[in-house]
Subunit: 373 residues, 2 copies
């Protein structure tokens, strides 16, 4: 499991972990044992919510893979090949995507063997996750970039030590665009000054632009982030790092399947990345809105609801079965209202009366502390 | 049609055009005629390629909409409502998305009329395009943001006059991330210095990151752009503006349906946005690769081709029927090779032998001027 203490920015133990993995294999060979590789199972049956920390984790179930086993030999060789390539990338001090890794792996066996070790990229993806889990390193530390998405602006200064250069990113000087959140916000990235009162995470890029134009982050002295939909790993790590600085995290999303999912993924982590545990979750996050009860407060919203789709209904029902959600009466109430009235509500609807109403709404919610947990 | 001269950064004639539209309606009413609104048809049957300029345009076919026509009355009222809202946004000096516009339109008729002027956002989307075409303004000039995507780095300095502030964006100081290309790169956005030798447009964000890490833009003194897939309106406008500065534009994409589409959209404009004509097209652009003939030059690539999918085959066949493509023997040859060998090739494959090979490839292609037209 990756612990918070393992992933402090700058600390690089990936190479030593890769070497130790290789040494273990060598020892097994010297002892005339079958080389083996052990990794926790990542299926949903091995995902658990920890009541105390509020995060999703992997459980104890493990799988052991042996070289001298006909069914496992290929996968075993593949795992070692991926580890070997990552070690090379680390030594070269170069990064690539898992697609780039895949193309390098095509040359693993050399020209004289008429056999492909990897046919499809999906094979190598899975092995990257295996390595992350068993070595307790993040793929970003293995010099593998992940898809990046998300934008940030506000009173934050970041030192980006990248490719031998040093750049200071000033979150107050990003104009209409904001700074694009990179794949890796840990290694070689230092938060210099964060002189903000809180962090506002806005689901949709269009709403982020609306608030950015209103200089919301300046007026309210906050950090304005949009994951631009589902939050990337980099965005989730940035939110985690800001929460570590004791900044309150408020999430502003749609009242629908997708909005709830984005929020809960930021808060508890996701099933798929449960192996990253607390390093990618922010249990301190609060849900600012929009909510069904907003309709009672702001009359005009009753005209702007949308019929809930099947996916919204299904998701609401599913969420009501999760113990870490149904323990909150506020969420039970919210989801049951959706199931009853079969309506949903978008954050964009707050622009109905006037474009600048969005900022007033957020301000009022924060002042009155009207959040869902 | 929007002409290049109409869309110079800073020139704002949208309000006067909206007013003139309103005045025409008033005159018709005073003359006791049915108010009317004329817009060119935007269907494919009215899209033409202009051999001389190398761009796609709308033809002469038009549609006239009358208020006093039962079938057209609603659409007519909707058009006027959209125009009126956009005028309000201009006067407020505020921007929103077309989703924000949609929610404002929900209040057009007032509370005492039990009739919705707009049910679905798709209705208002279409009317925004109608307005763009008939008034020859871009939606960005109507203060409507479009979805933004794309990233830029390199020797470029941009003055962003946004929301009353002035920010200087320095394309050499964007670290690992690059500057996110905004929705609108014209209004209030000035290119201060662009001291580059050429522009390299890289289809995939992962490959952009690879080249950015190698400081390709620094070593080669070029502007490094990734549309991150299909190019947004903002990205296409930025490429057009850079081409206006006489910088050569080289596109580096996959050899497959999607890569070719991205290239030709940048070069000639797209069918959907044919009404924007030359303002969103860059006929000067060249296709740098990857190409099927690369396999003859770089042996290792033969091991890294992928089976072409049906969509690739279909697209290649379709492209061979376009006169503006099949007039180039180089493209005919390329597409016929794909149809013959039924293989495709990704730009990522260039990382096969070593990660830094990508930069060598691009450099060699540019030195030897090995482009497709």
């Amino acid at each position: 499991m990756v612990k918070k203490s393992d992933i402090k920015a700058g600390k690089d133990n990936a190479v030593s972990k890769l070497e130790s993995m290789g040494n273990t294999l060598l020892t097994e060979i010297e002892k005339e044992q079958s080389p083996s590789f052990e990794a926790p199972l990542r299926g949903r049956s091995n995902v658990f919510h920890n009541e105390k920390t509020g995060c999703l984790y992997l459980g104890e179930k493990k799988e052991k893979r042996f070289f001298l086993n006909v069914a496992q030999a290929k996968k075993f060789m593949q795992t070692v090949a991926v580890a070997s390539k990552c070690k090379k990338f680390k030594e070269e001090n170069l990064h690539t995507s898992i697609r780039g890794l895949f193309y390098q792996l095509k040359f693993t066996l050399g020209d004289d063997i008429d056999e492909e070790l990897f046919e499809e990229q999906s094979e190598s993806n899975e092995l990257v996750e295996d390595l992350e889990v068993s070595l307790a390193v993040k793929r970003e530390e293995l010099n593998l970039n992940t898809a990046r998405k998300g934008v940030v602006a506000g009173p934050i200064r970041i030192k980006d030590k990248f490719a031998g250069d040093e750049t200071i990113i000033d979150g107050t000087k990003q104009g209409r665009s904001g700074w694009m959140i990179p794949s890796d916000v840990d290694n070689g990235m230092e938060l210099l000054d964060v002189d903000a009162d809180y962090v506002l995470v806005v689901e949709k890029d269009a709403m982020w632009q609306r608030l950015n134009e209103d200089k919301f982050w300046k007026k309210e002295n906050c950090i304005l982030i949009s994951p631009q939909g589902q939050a990337s790993r980099g965005c989730r790590r940035l939110i985690r790092r800001l929460a570590d600085l004791k900044l309150p995290i408020y999430c502003f999303a749609d009242c629908d399947a997708w909005g709830w999912y984005i929020y809960w993924t930021i808060k508890t982590g996701s099933m798929n990345l449960a192996y990253l545990g607390e390093s990618i979750a922010t249990p301190e996050a609060k849900f600012l809105g929009v909510t069904m009860s907003d309709i009672d407060t702001y009359d005009f919203l009753s005209k702007l609801t949308i019929r809930a789709k099947e996916v919204d209904i299904k998701r609401a029902e599913e969420m009501l079965t999760y113990p870490w959600i149904n323990k909150h009466p506020e969420w039970v109430n919210e989801l049951k209202t959706v199931l009853e009235v079969k309506k949903k509500l978008e954050q964009d609807a707050l622009q109905g009366p006037r474009l600048t109403f969005v900022a007033d709404y957020v301000r009022e919610k924060i002042e009155k502390k009207k959040f869902l947990p």
